[in-house]
């Protein structure tokens, strides 16, 4: 039983970290903040060239031919770096929307149900369900061209709390024209999992930031990291991150919907609460625009409201505790 990253996976992850360090360092991140998260097409193409979107397409379709575990590692790095843009939707659209895999097309998703629609301005395509959105609809539609224009015209831009994510409000059901055969349930699950991976990366990063600050800031003649109150906040951050990590990685391996729900629930909580604790440890400085911690918190809140909310995940996980479910499911036992 092997639940450790392989050497290839480690290499993939560090390659992604190196790439982001080169094309999206802190200066570029803060520049993206100042322009309100408006998309950087050249960055998008660089991600495409690196295989970020085509990662799970089969090699014969021009993809990298890897799986969800590898995708999760890349999205974890994206979350840690606060990489903006509709990463999840474009990744899901690779193979569905021309140019998505290469980073030429920017694809976002309308999940329906009053949820925020991110990065709609300038998107080349939008994934919606046949009904109210990817989440609620039963069939998947890809909106482009004039249909997309009509959709965008009906959407209302909002002043987004997250400066890295422009948002629109989309109300009512979308009565589109053509519909593909794809079943959006799988997309929704994968979207939830990849978001969870981003949350995991963010939770890891805010833990590091908190520890770094606690180990360098002095108050009352001591490093604040020597105070138990601060120490214990940091310890609890790690105790949120590591179970979430195991849940996310396992869900990526099994693809099981219930495991994905667990992963999203715990990763959302880890990202949000770790960002809160990181802010608390930073004190007044954490309350400033200049500190990055608020960017993690706002993004974490936003991701928690997308793809699969806590209420939905908990109900799914409760339903799984059914009386007729066999204790063993195949030889993997606790599965």
């Amino acid at each position: 039983m092997d639940f450790q990253l392989s050497d290839d996976q480690r290499a993939l992850r560090s390659g992604m970290r190196d790439l982001l360090g080169a094309v999206f360092d802190r200066d570029r991140m803060r520049a993206a903040v100042e322009r309100g998260g408006a998309l950087d097409r050249s960055l998008w193409r660089e991600l495409g060239a690196a295989g970020f979107f085509a990662l799970r397409l089969p090699e014969e379709a021009g993809g990298v031919g890897l799986g969800l575990p590898e995708a999760v590692l890349l999205f974890e790095e994206a979350g840690r770096a606060l990489l903006p843009g509709p990463l999840v939707a474009t990744h899901l659209a690779a193979g569905l929307v021309k140019g998505a895999a290469e980073g030429e097309a920017v694809v976002t998703a309308a999940e329906g149900g009053g949820r925020p629609v991110a990065d709609l301005g300038g998107a080349d395509a939008v994934l919606v369900g046949g009904g109210a959105g990817v989440v609620e609809g039963e069939r998947l539609e890809v909106l482009t061209g004039e249909v997309l224009e009509a959709f965008v015209a009906g959407a209302v831009p909002v002043r987004s709390m997250d400066p890295l994510t422009p948002l629109h409000r989309v109300e009512g059901r979308w009565e589109g024209a053509g519909a593909s055969e794809a079943y959006p349930g799988a997309l929704r699950r994968e979207g939830a999992l990849l978001s969870a991976a981003e949350q995991l990366g963010s939770a890891t990063r805010t833990t590091e930031m908190a520890v770094q600050h606690a180990g360098s800031r002095e108050q009352f003649g001591s490093l604040i990291g020597s105070f138990q109150a601060v120490k214990h906040l940091c310890a609890d951050m790690l105790a949120r991150t590591e179970p979430a990590r195991s849940a996310v990685y396992a869900a990526a391996v099994t693809g099981d919907p219930v495991e994905i729900a667990a992963a999203k629930l715990l990763a959302d909580e880890a990202a949000v609460r770790n960002a809160r604790d990181c802010l608390q440890i930073h004190g007044g400085m954490g309350f400033t625009w200049e500190a990055d911690v608020h960017l993690h918190l706002k993004r974490a809140w936003l991701r928690a409201a997308r793809w699969l909310t806590a209420a939905e995940a908990e109900e799914l996980l409760a339903a799984d505790l059914g009386p007729v479910r066999p204790l063993y499911s195949g030889s993997a036992a606790l599965g």
């Binding site: 450790q4 120490k231 195991s246 908990e314 996980l317 505790l321 030889s331």
Partner: protein, 385 residues
């Protein structure tokens, strides 16, 4: 990272299941919790059955009489026995999982030959004499004194939280042999025969009303010097070394048990109608996420231990910190599921379990101590204050 079990592991699991299915029906009924001799007999009978079937000391090295199993095999063993409802390790706990491994790692050939085989066969059981009333979380502050007198140590002091003291043959005892040395450097590890004169065992009643533990008073008990494992004053290191035997498997059975309990809670809630309360239902859903994650974290720790050959890095303390809290939540949820008078009825298993769960954030290092360990040793925050 694929979480799949190897063919050999699947084969091991299959044989074990088959064996369990064959022998468990033949077990006698469980003894009453207060009948210690009967509990010892029950637990050691089970150990003998494991021994005869080749499962005794599964994770011990082969040269200590064990099977040299991998951490994954040990995980499978613990998972399957718990799922099948096999007896707990019970009275064999200290011998198999603590004192035995200590002797195996640090003992002389004579010591290994004397003490290990009876543990594996279920012939002898051990108890643990580490904690003291005044030491508490600060274990190394122990004060039980051992003074050399010829070929013996003469030991006086008192120990607390000792399980199975009434029925144990041996006690792994930490004593202070050099009161002048820094506290971690004046401790020695002794194997004390429990029938030695001067030992008084007094049951210690817990808040659950049970006598799972005892206090052990030592009044000039003579323990032969040859019963010391490791060098004099090197007992702290000797004890710490043992922990590396665990390799991430310490809580396998408990997590499996918690998941079974959670399934049972859901079934009961569906039966008594409380399932219709979304607050409770979502709480159970959340616990499902927590225990699934803890199971995966267990697998990650075991897998890491298997790869590195040592103890899992960030595993132990992080796991225990999260697990103790969540397990207490589980029994708070159980009280909600029972509801009304049932939540206060000690004849309902979950009510007693709720009381026992109060110790999880205290025993074997309080959650406060765990947080210190995580912050200082894993995250590298400065000591002090």
């Amino acid at each position: 990272m694929d979480l799949a079990y190897t063919e050999a592991e699947e084969e091991f699991r299959g044989r074990l299941r088959e064996w369990l299915a064959g022998v468990l029906p033949s077990l006698p009924p469980k003894p009453s919790p207060d009948d210690w001799p009967a509990r010892r007999a029950y637990d050691t009978t089970w150990q003998r059955m494991l021994y005869d079937a080749g499962y005794a000391g599964l994770h011990w090295p082969e040269d200590a009489g064990g099977r040299g199993a991998t951490p994954t095999q040990h995980l499978i063993f613990l998972e399957e026995t718990e799922r099948a409802g096999a007896p707990y390790v019970g009275a064999n706990f200290v011998g198999l999982l603590h004192a035995g491994p200590t002797v195996a790692a640090e003992g002389t050939a004579e010591q290994r030959a004397r003490w290990l085989p009876p543990v594996l066969r279920g012939d002898e059981i051990w108890c643990q004499g580490f904690s003291e009333p005044d030491a508490g979380s600060d274990l190394a502050a122990l004060r039980t004194r051992a003074v050399r007198d010829g070929d013996d140590y003469v030991v006086s002091g008192s120990k607390i939280w000792t399980s199975h003291a009434e029925v144990a043959d041996w006690c792994e005892l930490l004593v202070r042999t050099d009161p002048e040395a820094p506290k971690h450097r004046g401790i020695s590890w002794l194997a004390m025969p429990m029938d030695a004169p001067g030992i008084t065992v007094r049951p210690l009643r817990t808040l659950a009303g049970s006598t799972e533990f005892a206090e052990v008073f030592l009044d000039e008990v003579r323990v032969p010097v040859r019963n010391r494992v490791g060098a004099e004053n090197d007992g702290w290191r000797v004890t710490m070394v043992t922990l590396s035997f665990e390799r991430g498997t310490a809580f396998v059975g408990e997590v499996v048990a918690c998941r079974r309990t959670l399934e049972a809670l859901a079934a009961e809630a569906r039966r008594n109608g409380r399932w219709d309360d979304p607050v409770l239902r979502r709480r159970l859903g959340r616990l499902n996420a927590e225990f699934r994650a803890l199971w995966r974290l267990t697998q990650a720790n075991v897998s890491e231990s298997e790869r590195t050959g040592g103890v899992p890095g960030i595993g132990g303390s992080v796991f225990k910190l999260r697990y103790s809290g969540v397990r207490q939540d589980l029994y708070e949820a159980a009280a909600e599921v029972l509801g009304g008078v049932d939540a206060f009825d000690l004849d309902r298993e979950w009510t007693l379990d709720r009381l026992s769960s109060l110790s999880y954030t205290i025993a074997a290092g309080t959650s406060q101590i765990q947080r210190n360990i995580v912050a200082e040793r894993i995250l590298g925050l400065p000591k002090g204050r």
